[in-house]
């Protein structure tokens, strides 16, 4: 594995409950790259992320650079409203201190007042919880970020500013980012590579080459505007 290679995926096959979810997938991610995974619903994007994280059994090869520290934003994350768990305690699961919590919250446009930190996390709105879980993934400075539809439920203004913060953070710290998203417009500008997936690899390369009208029709199978 060369120095700047963070992840190498070779002949990856994933089967869940006898259904083939991912077939014979190959790709590589270099240090500091932003890779965007596109594909219709049911294409296996979330399963791919979870497989990369070691959460599903697979055949083939997934090779991460040694001692890599990964932050993950899952597609689904809810907290029962009755659970007495404060925002601060949720961050403390990561053994981080208050300044680090405030810094992470700033990245997702949340002012960390003492009142907010003491709030029950189960009473937050969907969008706020989503911001918290992004901040949580960022809080302990991961080398690689895996984000699965991170902006689900976040308002438009929030999306733009959070993406801006993510990009700024990425420029400062040079994380590698792997992102599953449907929002072609906002994110593709910043991507180094795009992986279009529908169980098999459809396209893999720079966004300029991939994100064309004809390709999008092939990926999503219908009329779509860029």
């Amino acid at each position: 594995m060369n120095k700047s290679l963070i992840l190498k995926v070779k002949n990856l096959n994933v089967e869940l409950g006898k259904e083939k979810i991912i077939e014979d997938l190959n790709f590589e991610v270099q240090k500091g790259e932003i890779l965007i995974i596109l594909g219709p619903n049911g294409a296996g994007k979330s399963v791919l992320l979870r497989t990369l994280l070691g959460l599903h059994p697979f055949q083939g090869q997934i090779q991460w650079k040694k001692n890599i520290h990964i932050g993950y934003v899952p597609e689904e994350f809810t907290i029962p409203s009755g659970l007495p768990l404060s925002v601060k305690e949720f961050f403390q699961f990561k053994n981080i201190d208050l300044p680090e919590i405030s810094r992470a919250l700033q990245w997702v446009e949340i002012k960390s007042s003492p009142g907010f930190l003491e709030k029950r996390i189960g009473t937050l709105s969907t969008g706020q919880l989503r911001r918290i879980i992004i901040a949580w993934a960022l809080a302990d400075n991961p080398d690689v970020l895996l984000l699965d539809e991170p902006m689900l439920g976040i308002d438009i203004r929030g999306r733009v500013t959070i993406y801006d913060h993510l990009v700024k953070l990425w420029q400062e710290q040079g994380q590698t980012i792997i992102l599953v998203s449907h929002e072609i417009r906002e994110v593709v500008k910043k991507a180094d590579k795009v992986l279009a997936l529908n169980k098999r690899k459809l396209f893999f390369g720079s966004p300029r080459k991939i994100i064309t009208f004809q390709n999008l029709v092939k990926i999503y199978g219908g009329e779509i505007s860029i």
């Binding site: 959460l55 990964i70 899952p74 994350f77 768990l85 305690e89 699961f93 990561k94 003491e118 029950r120």
Partner: protein
């Protein structure tokens, strides 16, 4: 002297049961304590017949019961609660084949009026040990309960911690049976935690609140037992239930 030993035993066992209960209620395993209390009954019966420590009698039977449930689940894939139901009722049936009639009440509702120095010391030490273990795994279990995937990404060995957690449940149930008996043990983990949840605004208020309410219920129950000469086990549970009723008035929105 006996009263002092009873109080110390009650404070520690009530506290650890409450603390563990805050985890069990969160994981929706509240009734597991109740079921395991019943599973232990044959061991409790043997201890009462041969005059040794009830906790020592209960523990091996509990471990056997948990292993059986686990094995049955591997073999059948039936829901855990159904398998637990089978094992605990079979246990109760076995116990009643040989449990002498004059021991039934102690087995079912406990008796800590006669604990001696060594029994108290052993209980206290086991409680402290269990508390230290639980405090270490507490946040990991809660995170794994919120999202197992997220916990695994954080390198939390979920299976390992669940196993330690189950072992703690077995130990606390074995300890609690001495205080409130097989029949009422479940309440010792459920009620203080449920009451604390009504008061608590965060996780530490919740878990330590449950610990305090568990201890306090035991103190109230044991003192009431001295005053009214009624059995201590039921009085402890009633004290906890009363605190739960009071907590309803504090329910934080």
């Amino acid at each position: 002297m006996n009263l002092l030993y009873s109080l110390i035993t009650g404070i520690f066992i009530g506290g650890i049961a409450g603390y563990l209960g805050s985890l069990m209620v969160t994981k929706r395993m509240a009734l597991v304590g109740d079921a395991l209390g019943h599973v232990a009954l044959p061991g409790v019966a043997l201890a009462l017949i041969y005059g040794f420590n009830v906790t020592l009698g209960a523990l091996p039977v509990l471990i056997l019961g948990i292993i059986l449930i686990w094995l049955f689940e591997m073999r059948t894939k039936l829901p855990m609660e159904a398998l637990t139901g089978i094992v605990f009722t079979a246990s109760v049936a076995i116990a009643f084949l040989f449990l002498p009639e004059n021991k039934v009440s102690v087995a079912l509702i406990g008796d800590i009026s006669q604990v001696g120095f060594w029994n108290t010391l052993i209980s206290v030490m086991l409680c402290i040990l269990t508390f230290l273990v639980l405090r270490k795994i507490f946040s990991k279990i809660i995170l794994a309960n919120l999202s197992e995937n997220l916990a695994k990404v954080e390198h939390i060995k979920v299976e390992k911690y669940n196993f330690i957690y189950l072992a703690c449940i077995a130990l606390v149930v074995a300890l609690g049976i001495k205080v409130t008996g097989s029949l009422l043990m479940g309440a010792l983990v459920i009620t203080p935690a449920a009451a604390a949840r009504n008061f608590a605004r965060n996780l530490s208020q919740y878990s330590y609140g449950a610990l305090l309410i568990g201890s306090f219920s035991c103190v109230l129950g044991i003192l009431a037992f001295k005053v009214f000469a009624l059995p201590a086990g039921p009085l402890i549970i009633l004290a906890a239930s009363l605190i739960f009723l009071i907590s309803l008035g504090f329910k934080s929105k």
